[in-house]
């Protein structure tokens, strides 16, 4: 064994520890430390984001508002779901009040108006401002460590988060930075109960009030994927809670 290789092994052993020796709690501790600390994340109760929503090759101005308790609202200008055009003067507005997902959208050509319960449930879960890993026991999330995996060549710890709804969201945490690179889930949707895989990819982490948030999110779906490119994220703005309630003309699910 060469001297250089021996030193490398020693450094690895003294460093972050062999992945197999890490526990779920170890990984979570490193994750929240990397984000900026649990206390800082807990102090963030609301977020306001602005940027661009990219869908089907079109860019749309985006504003979104988030409140702890799985409440969110996003307003996307000119968006035509399933369409190829930008509809000026129109916005798709959708959100969740913590238990119900809702959409206001009059551009669907009378089609695709229903929102599958699985999609709604996942969207509500994803509206957790602090993420599914934070305070997971109180939320009823069961987390197990699935060992190391791979995200486009980057080694990552895989944490399987089972939600009370039964959905299993596998989080991939970069082995070095402990930031979430990817999250994936498979649901069954539609009349034929087809498997519907989704994956979220996170990049461009920047500090907001001392906590790292991804400023680029890519949501991969079998048909239409989408990107969120944020120009700004503001922590703890004052928000009127009524904005998270479904408007009278909204389609709601479940």
């Amino acid at each position: 064994m060469s001297f250089r290789f021996s030193v490398a092994l020693l450094l690895a052993a003294l460093g972050q520890g062999a992945p197999s020796e890490m526990t779920t709690e170890d990984i979570l501790d490193r994750h929240f430390e990397a984000l900026g600390g649990r206390h800082r994340l807990e102090a963030i109760r609301t977020l306001e984001k602005a940027g661009t929503y990219v869908y089907n090759g079109q860019e749309h101005p985006l504003r979104s508002f988030h409140l702890v308790g799985n409440k969110y609202r996003e307003e996307i200008d000119g968006l035509v779901i399933w369409g190829a055009s930008v509809k000026e003067g129109h916005s798709v507005i959708r959100g969740a009040d913590g238990t119900t997902y809702w959409v206001v959208d009059d551009t669907r050509y009378g089609r695709f108006r229903e929102v599958a319960n699985a999609r709604a449930s996942l969207t509500i879960a994803d509206a957790d401002l602090q993420g599914a890993l934070f305070d997971h026991e109180r939320k009823g999330h069961v987390i197990t460590y699935d060992g190391l995996g791979d995200v486009e060549g980057a080694s990552a710890h895989r944490l399987r988060v089972t939600l009370p709804s039964g959905f299993e969201l596998v989080h991939f945490l970069d082995e070095t930075s402990f930031l979430v690179l990817k999250k994936e889930v498979v649901t069954k949707e539609g009349a034929r109960d087809l498997e519907h895989p989704r994956a979220w990819f996170y990049e461009d982490y920047r500090a907001v009030d001392g906590v790292l948030f991804p400023f680029w999110i890519y949501v991969e779906e079998p048909i239409f994927s989408r990107e969120y490119v944020f120009d700004s994220i503001v922590a703890n703005p004052s928000l009127d809670e009524s904005i998270f309630e479904a408007p009278p003309d909204a389609i709601k699910s479940p």
Partner: protein, 404 residues
């Protein structure tokens, strides 16, 4: 007899090639229908001393890409009522002729023609999205013959319209026609449009066939709605493997990976399948080598280079080892784009109209330069002819000079 046939075949090839010269891009995905250009000496940067815009002209809605022979380019577009075949000056963008091909196809993902013209000798073969196949005189656009696929083959208008690009082989025109009962694909006399043979009963699947030379024999490879198959030049099936996409949509062309692999890919979470062709007695068999979700082409096909494939796995540009499917690198942020290869580069058009030059290497994604060429959604793949790149969307056609 064998000798005579060989001499005749060689003569036919020479005749067919008499108008298409090195550097031309006479059909969908280029000379080999594989997205590869043989051009060299191309610029690797943009700006005054590098690649620069040559012309920009308005164009109607459509997804047809550009075919180029000499100083003329051919494509298709539409207005609110009709679809058209177009001939433009390849250097200035001036319209030389515009011929109506049939009523427009309208759909929320985009109106107009999907198929790309094929230029062969003094003819241009076009397929309107409602199924009118026509041979046009190259110089004038005059119609030499035409037929309606519905009348000739019992074809029904598919959900996303007729999209396949016609393919010339010698004196024949090979087309996915989507007919019923053994008439899914057809060979026609290119001079007259007379039907020579039909084959296959699978439904139409929107992709364009390729020609493959394997074990000393030519075959046509089709990706149909339920299978990937190779036919001999008389339409007899040599081999097939099941390929059943979700939603029955496989627009991306099959890709030949020399010397013996064929890749098929589809989106909607289907993925890719690579088969190996083998000679078995007088026949050819195809055996699956690998399959997986790591390359899900939504509509634009991959490019195979030096044992690797480069393509859009829905919204992620990926490089995979062609023989194993092992990922080599991935790049997001380009949407469901398209690409061709030339001079050691990948010439990539992002879904939002950004032209990106990328080093064609499996080692890593290395961007050489980029230029925002088109605004809005751009699903049509680039064409490269005589040092000039041609890019379009539903409103503009742009040429970028890549020769410094």
């Amino acid at each position: 007899m064998v000798g005579r046939c060989s001499i005749l075949s060689a003569a036919c090839v020479l005749a067919a090639a008499s108008f298409a010269l090195p550097g031309d891009w006479q059909q969908f995905r280029g000379p080999g229908r594989d997205g590869k250009s043989e051009e060299t000496g191309l610029s690797r940067m943009f700006g005054p001393t590098g690649a620069r815009e040559l012309f920009r002209v308005p164009i109607g809605a459509g997804f047809a890409s550009v075919s180029v022979v000499g100083e003329r380019l051919f494509t298709m577009d539409s207005d609110g009522s009709s679809e058209y075949a177009l001939c433009l000056d390849a250097v200035t963008g001036e319209t030389l002729w515009r011929v109506a091909i049939g009523p427009v196809f309208e759909e929320i993902q985009g109106d107009g023609p999907r198929s790309t013209p094929t230029v062969d000798g003094d003819r241009v073969f076009v397929l309107g999205s409602r199924g009118r196949l026509a041979a046009l005189e190259r110089e004038t656009g005059e119609t030499l013959w035409e037929l309606e696929l519905s009348a000739a083959f019992g074809s029904e208008l598919p959900t996303w319209a007729f999209s396949s690009a016609p393919m010339v082989d010698g004196e024949r025109l090979i087309v996915e026609v989507g007919g019923s009962a053994g008439r899914a694909v057809a060979a026609l006399e290119k001079a007259t449009g007379e039907v020579v043979w039909t084959s296959q009963s699978s439904s139409l699947a929107y992709s364009s066939p390729i020609q493959v030379s394997f074990a000393g024999a030519k075959q046509y490879v089709f990706l149909l709605q339920d299978k990937l198959t190779g036919l001999d030049t008389e339409g007899r099936e040599l081999w097939s493997v099941p390929f059943e996409p979700r939603n029955e949509i496989t627009p991306a062309s099959p890709v030949f990976i020399e010397p013996d692999l064929i890749l098929a890919s589809a989106s909607y979470d289907i993925g890719a399948k690579v088969v190996r062709l083998s000679r078995e007695g007088d026949g050819v068999t195809a055996t699956e080598v690998w399959s997986g979700r790591q390359m899900r082409n939504h509509f634009n096909a991959t490019v195979a280079l030096d044992g690797h494939v480069y393509g859009f796995d829905t919204g992620t540009l990926r490089c995979l080892d062609a023989r194993t499917g092992e990922p080599r690198w991935a790049k997001r942020g380009l949407g469901k784009g398209s690409l061709i290869s030339a001079d050691g580069m990948l010439v990539v058009l992002s879904e939002r109209g950004k032209l990106v030059l990328v080093e064609a290497t499996p080692d890593a994604y290395r961007e050489l330069g980029s230029l925002q060429v088109l605004e809005g959604r751009s699903w049509t793949p680039p064409s490269l002819a005589n040092g000039r790149l041609y890019l379009r969307n539903h409103t503009e056609l742009v040429s970028v000079e890549l020769k410094p």
